[in-house]
């Protein structure tokens, strides 16, 4: 069935329709949450929160064609909530041993995944959320801004800076033959 039909059925309380929607979306949401949170357990909690909220609030979703964007927004907000809860605890500097970097084959335009992983690790979580929303989930920038609660201009400038940082970081690491160091979170804050 077309997604619109499933959403309308789920809005009417059809749990089977919701299960179909959730099954289609959850891999993408789980991946996005893991990219943002860098922790599978936290990601699981965030996606679970988002899904429960989605089911509960689905009847109030006015525009069924915005279901995907709405679900993405719920998930990212749940991720940010997870991070806020973590921040209430004593500050911990998380040291992560990274993979040995492999050399990116830039001639073919492919970003080395290990280097990207390392670069993402060094970003502040809200910057990771920005990148994941825009580049992975494909959310339009105005919607990204609304989701993160920042002005559109701020979102634009932060995204530009973050992409520049990632690009330079990946390139730098690719040209750098040193062994990896443990990188504390927030390195690029």
């Amino acid at each position: 069935m077309h997604q619109r039909g499933l959403v309308e059925r789920a809005q009417r309380g059809d749990h089977d329709a919701f299960a179909a929607l959730a099954g289609a979306a959850i891999a993408r949401l789980d991946a996005a949450a893991r990219l943002i949170l860098r922790d599978p357990e936290l990601a699981r909690d965030a996606v679970q929160d988002a899904m429960l909220r989605a089911w509960r609030d689905l009847p109030t979703l006015r525009d069924v064609d915005r279901f995907d964007g709405w679900l993405h927004r719920l998930t990212v907000n749940a991720c940010l909530d997870q991070l806020r809860r973590r921040r209430r605890r004593p500050i911990e500097v998380e040291m992560t041993t990274l993979f040995a970097p492999s050399t990116g084959d830039f001639s073919r335009g492919v970003i080395d995944r290990d280097l990207l992983d390392r670069a993402l690790q060094g970003l502040e979580p809200d910057r990771r959320a920005l990148v994941v929303l825009h580049s992975y989930l494909g959310m339009p920038l105005p919607e990204v801004a609304a989701t993160l609660g920042i002005p559109l201009g701020t979102a634009k400038s932060r995204l530009h800076r973050t992409l520049e940082l990632l690009r330079e970081s990946v390139a730098f690491e690719a040209d750098d033959d040193r062994q990896p160091e443990a990188v504390p979170e927030g390195r690029f804050a």
């Binding site: 309308e8 809005q11 009417r12 309380g13 749990h15 919701f18 959730a22 959850i26 891999a27 993408r28 789980d30 991946a31 996005a32 893991r34 990219l35 699981r44 996606v47 679970q48 929160d49 899904m51 429960l52 909220r53 089911w55 509960r56 609030d57 689905l58 009847p59 109030t60 006015r62 525009d63 709405w70 927004r73 907000n77 749940a78 909530d81 830039f106 335009g109 492919v110 970003i111 995944r113 990207l116 992983d117 993402l120 990148v131 994941v132 580049s135 992975y136 494909g138 339009p140 105005p142 919607e143 801004a145 609304a146 989701t147 992409l163 520049e164 990632l166 690009r167 990946v170 390139a171």
Partner: protein, 441 residues
């Protein structure tokens, strides 16, 4: 080095590879939880709905930095609080059931208990506390009592209770727990209560949201009585009591696949049709979120439209109709493509607060317009990425709004004139209501 544009193009693919999206094994757990969870009613926007809370409710915290206040200021605040609570709990005069009144206490939910809070002082106190799960406080029209829902049998059924605003005289309203209780309302006399609940299986062939037979029952608040069914219909979305005396219960229903507006008196007699069931609607946005003008002459509601120039066909425009019957008409003439809806009329009858949703905008806002449709539409409060619901203060000077798009669990006080919004000085669940008290003589 890769160019920025090229990097940007490749990044999405690389992120996908990095995350390696797969269906996680916890999907089954999630679906098990959602299967046991009630959905929020689609019409959850005004004061008579019964929300289900699923999130952990925050511990109450005093909003005022008492420790930092000077002793004299604290004493003054305590005196103000005491006066406010005394005024709220020991009314010597009672307000009329409809129309303007003075602002009393705000009932709210925290940690599954019912509290009341005073906006002026920021003080709160528990009204009903205990191991039970309580939610959905609704004050009586005269402001003397608070009705609330209590989950029973593992939250699968619901009882309604009432308690005096001072916390005394707890009484069970429902003779027995109800399944799928959807809406409640006090009758203006304060001695009877309206219960709207779904019964039976989904109606075969119904293609709209609420495809259940719904019963509208009335019961004595004193308890011990029996439910008296005054109407049964498909697709009821709650009821509104018609001012100025509550002589009619107004509801929408689906008849032969078409929406209509109907009314019946609280004893089940004098049933009549306000708008004949002629409205076809592929989606459920017709005749919902009913709100009366305080004189009872006009009824505002959400309406679907097939007119694409007024927005996407099917949803959502702000309409009104003569409560004695007539042709619905559009109240606010927004620019093309805008959605307006979920109206709530102010107690003084001058204003209506509603959604204002501009196409392709990621956020929406609460808007205020004159009930006669003249003048400007005033946007107020924060931009909202998701839903919200709201009630007017009894004196019509504020709008109490709870936003659904965050986990902040905090309500806002909006300025109907578009001024800055403030937050309530306490955290609470999403239930909203505001006690009516008699204006100073």
């Amino acid at each position: 080095m890769m160019s920025t544009d090229r990097f940007d193009r490749e990044l999405g693919i690389a992120l996908g590879d990095l995350a390696d999206p797969q269906v996680p094994d916890y999907l089954t757990d999630i679906l098990g939880q959602t299967a046991d969870l009630r959905q929020r009613p689609a019409w959850a926007s005004i004061e008579r709905w019964l929300p289900m809370e699923i999130t952990t409710r925050p511990i109450l915290r005093p909003s005022l930095p008492w420790r930092q206040l000077a002793l004299v200021a604290a004493l003054i605040a305590l005196v103000v609080a005491a006066v406010a609570f005394y005024a709220g709990t020991h009314q010597t005069r009672l307000p009329a059931p409809f129309g303007p009144a003075a602002n009393g206490l705000i009932p709210f939910v925290s940690n599954d208990d019912i509290y009341v809070g005073d906006v002026a002082s920021g003080q709160t106190r528990p009204l009903v506390a205990g191991p039970e799960t309580d939610w959905g406080p609704v004050t009586s029209p005269d402001g003397t009592r608070v009705a609330f829902a209590r989950g029973v049998a593992g939250m699968t059924l619901t009882d309604m209770y009432s308690v005096r605003i001072d916390g005394s005289d707890l009484r069970r309203i429902t003779p027995e727990p109800l399944d799928r209780l959807e809406w409640v309302a006090w009758l203006p006399s304060g001695d009877r209560f309206v219960l709207v609940h779904q019964v039976g299986d989904p109606v075969h062939g119904c293609s709209t949201m609420d495809c259940f037979l719904t019963r509208i029952d009335v019961v004595d608040v004193a308890g011990g009585g029996h439910l008296k069914t005054v109407a049964s219909a498909v697709g009821v979305h709650g009821v509104q009591l018609r001012p100025p005396d509550g002589r009619e219960l107004t509801y929408r229903a689906l008849v032969d696949g078409k929406w209509g507006l109907f009314a019946v008196d609280p004893d089940g007699g004098a049933a009549r049709t306000i708008v004949a069931p002629t409205a076809l609607a592929p989606m459920d946005f017709t005749f919902i979120n009913l709100s009366y003008s305080p004189d009872g002459r006009r009824l505002f509601f959400n309406q679907s439209t097939d007119d694409a120039s007024n927005g996407d066909p099917g949803c959502c425009q702000l309409f009104a109709v003569d409560a004695d019957g007539g042709v619905p008409y559009k109240v606010v003439h927004s620019e093309s493509g805008v959605w307006d809806g979920d109206p709530v009329v102010s107690p003084d009858g001058r204003w209506v607060a509603f959604w204002h949703n501009i196409p392709d905008q990621p956020t929406q806002q609460v808007a205020v317009a004159a009930t006669d449709g003249t003048g400007d539409v005033i946007l107020t409060g924060p931009a909202l990425a998701g839903g919200a619901h709201w009630v007017w203060s009894p004196d019509s000077t504020k709008i109490l709004m709870f936003r659904n798009d965050t986990d902040a669990d905090q309500a806002y006080l909006l300025d109907p004139a578009g001024g800055p919004a403030t937050r309530l000085p306490w955290t609470s669940g999403e239930d909203l209501d505001w006690q009516r008290v008699a204006p100073p003589s």
